[in-house]
């Protein structure tokens, strides 16, 4: 970095013809450059020295000149090119002015050294990228198997069960009957709907008074529970039919048989 600084002291403000021509050539396709660092790297090549020995002050000068020329030619430059120009102007002043110990921040030499490092690093990355791309590459220089064989994926499923699972399953089976959901036991129930249905079919023939007991369905007379249910529903059905005006009901005495007959519809 001392070299940079020494070089800069001997720099004249005049730029050589060759430099100028190089800079002009750059302007032609400024779009082809990838940012200020790229341009700086290209400009640095005109110094024809090792990047480590480059004069940053010269380079800054070249860059500023390049920006000026671009402006004269009314080439629109992206903001970062102008930011770099401003920064290089600052750097230039730092490099040229004697060191002011009261001033804060890094010295001009430090800043210049870092810029040199950045350029060298970018250059190194570009060379490495080129070396990488020049390697023997798969699909171009070296080749993989042309007929790869499919690897069949075989899924082996093993089933497991523990003794506890087995016992629980068995216990579940053997106790299932006890957990039958609650339902009405309807074996001995003759519903009113059933009785009504039965009687509607029969009352057409009840021209004379008939005991409603004779309307009990077959097989419901023997078992007391069944008889009870059938009697109740038949009685309820008779009342319903009387309400509808289809039959007449009479009972001669308490607990006497209940008779019904068809009511003539006049």
């Amino acid at each position: 970095m001392d070299e940079n600084f020494d070089d800069s002291t001997s720099l004249t403000q005049e730029v050589s013809v060759a430099d100028r021509m190089a800079a002009e050539a750059l302007i032609v396709d400024v779009d082809g450059y990838e940012g200020p660092l790229d341009i700086l790297l290209t400009l640095s090549r005109t110094q024809k020295v090792d990047l480590r020995k480059i004069s940053i002050l010269d380079l800054a000068q070249q860059y500023l000149l390049f920006i000026d020329q671009a402006k004269t030619l009314r080439i629109e430059l992206a903001a970062d090119y102008l930011v770099m120009a401003a920064w290089l102007t600052f750097l230039k002043s730092r490099l040229l002015l004697p060191l002011d110990p009261t001033e804060d921040g890094p010295s001009g030499a430090e800043l210049a050294a870092h810029l040199a490092f950045q350029l060298e690093r970018l250059q190194a990355m570009r060379e490495s990228a080129a070396k990488l791309m020049a390697r023997d590459r798969l699909g171009r220089d070296i080749f993989a198997r042309g007929i790869p064989e499919k690897v069949a994926r075989v899924k082996n499923v093993t089933y497991t069960a523990s003794l506890l699972d087995l016992m629980q399953a068995y216990a579940r089976l053997r106790t299932r009957d006890e957990f039958r959901p609650f339902t009405m036991d309807r074996d001995a129930v003759f519903t009113m709907e059933e009785a009504l249905g039965r009687m509607r079919g029969l009352i057409g023939y009840a021209l004379d008074w008939t005991d409603i007991a004779s309307y009990l369905p077959d097989g419901w007379g023997a078992d007391p529970a069944r008889r009870r249910s059938a009697t109740a529903s038949t009685f309820a059905a008779s009342l319903e039919l009387a309400k509808e005006g289809k039959v007449e009901i009479r009972q001669s005495d308490t607990f006497a048989p209940i008779h019904l007959r068809k009511r003539d519809v006049s």
Partner: protein, 215 residues
Amino acid sequence: MTEPDFPQEESLFEAPPIAEQERMVEAILFASAEPVPVRELNSRMPHGCDAAEALVHLRKRYEGRGVHVVKVGDAWALRTAADLSFLMKKETIETRKLSRAAIETLAIIAYHQPVSRAEIEEIRGVSVSRGTLDQLLEMEWIRFGRRRMSPGRPITFIVTEGFLDHFGLENARDLPGLKELRSAGLLDNRPPPGAEALADSEDSDDEDQSEMFEE
């Protein structure tokens, strides 16, 4: 990337040595997406090469190896040795819990063996699918037992040694009885009334396990 830029008619250049030709055939067969006919090998290799001869050498070199040089119609290809085809499988082992239907069926067979399919269905209250029994047979946890001497002579199922091994049982009689299941808290209810009736339905001539549940 260098090109074999000697033209066909030029015989100034000698054909590469046969070992080199063998390498070439090897690389072409390896990288080609399909079997390669000899004439294509020759057209791709430098002038003066004899692919057919190189193939003879290459074929010999791969004898007994994991890969063979094989003829497919008029063309040549490299193929995995047939005895190593088992390597072309990637095995994954997945452990799954036995389905509820299977574990119940298995439990019934274990506790009631020998037991017919109809009996299993009667105990489970639902039909037993063929797949469930097949699965248990395939796992070698159950096998066919003797035929019943009853009408229709139904086949029965019994559990296997493999079953006993898996569940750490000496024999099926070691299975905990209903009483033990109850005292273990697996059965909190009084024995269902049908339990004894079912035991009675077992054939008397068969050595069955109904007595296990006698309390």
